[in-house]
Symmetry: C2
Subunit: 462 residues, 2 copies
């Protein structure tokens, strides 16, 4: 008995099986909607609403316009709705488009279980496309959504060196998550689910090298499309390795310099990963959120004139500087990777929504002037969702704020009202305020719907 | 100056640039067809003919039937020909289908430059789909084909630990090769080519774990489709990292535990990778070919009765046992990964074509009986294209054969006549003997064609 198996037994968790892929697949194929605690179901409602808003907010973005012009030209005929558009595309193409939309503004949800995964863009882009093929009820939809979280997060946990290896987890793990979710919605049995995971995982890709480019959000779209294709192939009898996670050349070892496949099964059925999902109040990476919280907290205090600020002292976890270290962003996209920009604009605008990450705001003189006065230091003892900020004004006075848990994290979650308000703000420009309200009302009772297509229809362009 | 840069200067090779991705892209976008030596152009003709035969031979395979049933159901409307079928699909879907066909029988070409890449399935599946959109001449087509080889092989050389890391290179490097080839055929400029490579590489995937399953040849189809999509997006202004090969989180470091990005530019324009392409006389991995050669060489000698064989001594490079170590294959697909099956069936049938790797032949009593009498030993001093075999008959006599270079390698190439005969045998069941002859005649003068669609039209079903 391994140390881990012993620990599992000691804590009453699921015993570690020898065949990780098989056991995970059997679970994903056979758990019941009724097994989900209400907290998981409610995160399902919240996650769907939040993600639809993120996708609709990006539906007219120039990057999406370019993407759609290509996808239309590849000649794909249409069954599947492109969110916010009257256009329909083939299933694989629509999944790419909707998945990229969902992630494009860096505004979509983030899992808080040690695996930096934006799971909903790959999962939901694939599921909504699949749901358009026939009547599928909201309970099946939520169960599939939860299955996607279990697969994506747990496989990620089996590959502890995965993130540091340079992978963009929303691309890699997102493919597996989407494959599992679609497999579940298609009603695959355990053996077919093994193959859905195997065909999905073998398509997993996305490099961190593409951070700050259009290719980054494209990863989410491809994850959705690849996962969907994997599940459809598995349903038709396509096969793959029965050990795609734990095998000698399987995911845990190929995508990570250290492997811990046993973690996949730990607490399966007892802990639901969807309940550890966080939502973003700000349209940028979660790593920036505590600093933004701190600056917004200070914005309510004197001085009213930013010119009176001598300097800002910002203290963050080192990770924040590592991945959002752009000092002088050249455009809106780059500004999402700038701790300096985010702190400055949050103070000035008391917000960090899509309006704060435009090309115009990245170039604005007031933001640039304040950016220059921000001094960042790092603190190894901080958690990643922790930050402090202090404003020292020219007369020497000092105002300080400390954030222990960034808003939107599991420890300081956004309220349902805040999620709905974010959705309405995101969705209204694309579908109008009235339809946005109608979509929200439907999604809050998602588990009672007999046909999820009613949601998709409201999210199409008119 | 690094040791490598010094060596390059000493030998008059291209100086090592600081920006590998940029310099490679500029080369791929700007070299002229006239820069290709006749040997490269001729490998273009040979490669196209050989690959079309492999694809047509697999066009009615049950795996392709399953794949096509899914791709039709995703609702993709049709512009692009599925080889051997009257069916047309969207560009992305047709590239998947044709790419998987090309690789399915393990009969397609293999690059001999230290990178185990079956380049033509990803490259040509993508190029033929693209060529159907409008009149493109054969010279542009061959130049694009050569560009794909340069990109795929050279990026592979920059990641020396890539294969041992568990990757299926036809999936990973094939995506980059297809992206570069399509970018070239689309006439992208150097900057757009940077992005074509960046968007292609970030989709690179395929695990060796799926060897022996339907997912393996699927990798080649996805590589074709993903590379095609990358080039189309780059043409529309999609961007990506300018350092996707050499960057801190770029391909060389993410996909390999050791990185040598400078190798990408070494001898660029002086050495053409397409000239180092090998073709397979046998329908299985090249690693098996020298052993098959040896057994066929012995088949011409006594004894005429296989039952008189006491034992067979087979001596191979250790790699052959490592990746084709299946002793008792359960079906035709598994038999392609069996050194024992390959040696036995080659001796009995004096051939190792598609007919030798069927479910029936894998289960045949005569093959099984001989398999059991084969004793394999490994020799570290052998090259991978080297093998020896000895047959010891019951009366004690011994017949031996030594193969120094397997047939089909660069050192012992298939003749043009042998390539054409293989094509005719492969293509005739799908398109008929007369059209097969017509296709061969067209492809032998590929560089004189004004519209490559004439080849595609003959390869469609009727």
């Amino acid at each position: 008995m391994s140390a881990r198996t012993a620990a599992n037994t000691q804590y009453g968790l699921a015993p570690v099986g020898l065949n990780v892929t098989r056991d995970l697949s059997a679970f994903l194929a056979t758990f019941h909607f009724e097994d989900l605690p209400e907290a998981a179901v409610h995160q399902g409602r919240r996650g769907v609403l939040d993600w639809l808003g993120c996708a609709l907010a990006a539906s007219r973005h120039p990057t999406i316009t370019k993407l759609l012009s290509v996808l239309k030209s590849t000649g794909a005929g249409g069954q599947a709705t492109v969110l916010g558009h009257t256009l329909k595309l083939g299933l694989l193409e629509a999944a790419i488009a909707n998945g990229q939309m969902g992630h494009l503004l860096d505004y979509d949800d983030t899992h808080m279980g040690g695996v930096v995964l934006h799971a909903s863009s790959p999962i939901l882009a694939a599921l909504f496309v699949l749901a358009e093929r026939g009547p599928l009820d909201g309970r099946a939809f939520i169960a599939a959504y939860a299955a996607g979280f279990e697969a994506g997060v747990r496989v990620g946990q089996s590959a502890p060196g995965h993130y540091d290896g340079g992978w963009h987890l929303t691309g890699t793990l997102g493919t597996i998550a989407a494959g599992a979710a679609c497999g579940r919605l298609l009603g695959l049995d355990g053996q077919q689910m093994v193959h859905a995971l195997g065909i999905a995982a073998t398509q997993a890709s996305g490099m961190q090298q593409n951070r700050g480019t259009m290719a980054k959000s494209f990863h989410a779209g491809k994850a959705a499309s690849n996962g969907l294709l994997a599940a459809l192939l598995a349903q038709q009898g396509f096969d793959s390795s029965p050990e795609i996670i734990e095998g000698k050349h399987g995911f845990s070892r190929t995508y990570s310099n250290v492997a811990d496949p046993e973690l996949v099964l730990q607490g399966l059925g007892a802990r639901w990963e969807i309940t550890r999902n966080g939502y973003k109040p700000y349209a940028c990476g979660v790593v920036l959120h505590p600093a933004i919280d701190a600056m917004i907290a200070l914005a309510g205090k004197p001085p009213p004139d930013p010119n009176a600020i001598a300097r800002v002292e910002l203290r963050v976890h080192p990770h924040a500087v590592k991945i959002t270290g752009v000092r002088d962003p050249a455009n809106g996209l780059q500004s999402k990777f700038s701790l300096w920009h985010s702190a400055a604009v949050a103070y000035l605008d008391r917000a960090a929504g899509t309006a704060q990450y435009t090309d115009a705001r990245a170039a604005a003189p007031d933001v640039a002037a304040l950016r220059e006065r921000i001094e960042v230091s790092t603190d190894e003892t901080f958690r990643k969702d922790q930050a402090s900020a202090a404003i020292i004004i020219t007369t020497g006075e000092r105002y300080a704020a400390m954030i222990d848990h960034a808003s939107g994290t599991v420890d300081n979650p956004m309220s349902d009202d805040a999620i709905e308000a974010k959705f309405i703000a995101n969705a209204s420009p694309a579908v109008g305020a009235e339809r946005a309200q109608n979509i929200a009302a439907l999604v809050w009772r998602l588990d009672t719907l007999t046909d999820v297509r009613s949601v998709v229809e409201l999210c199409a362009g008119s």
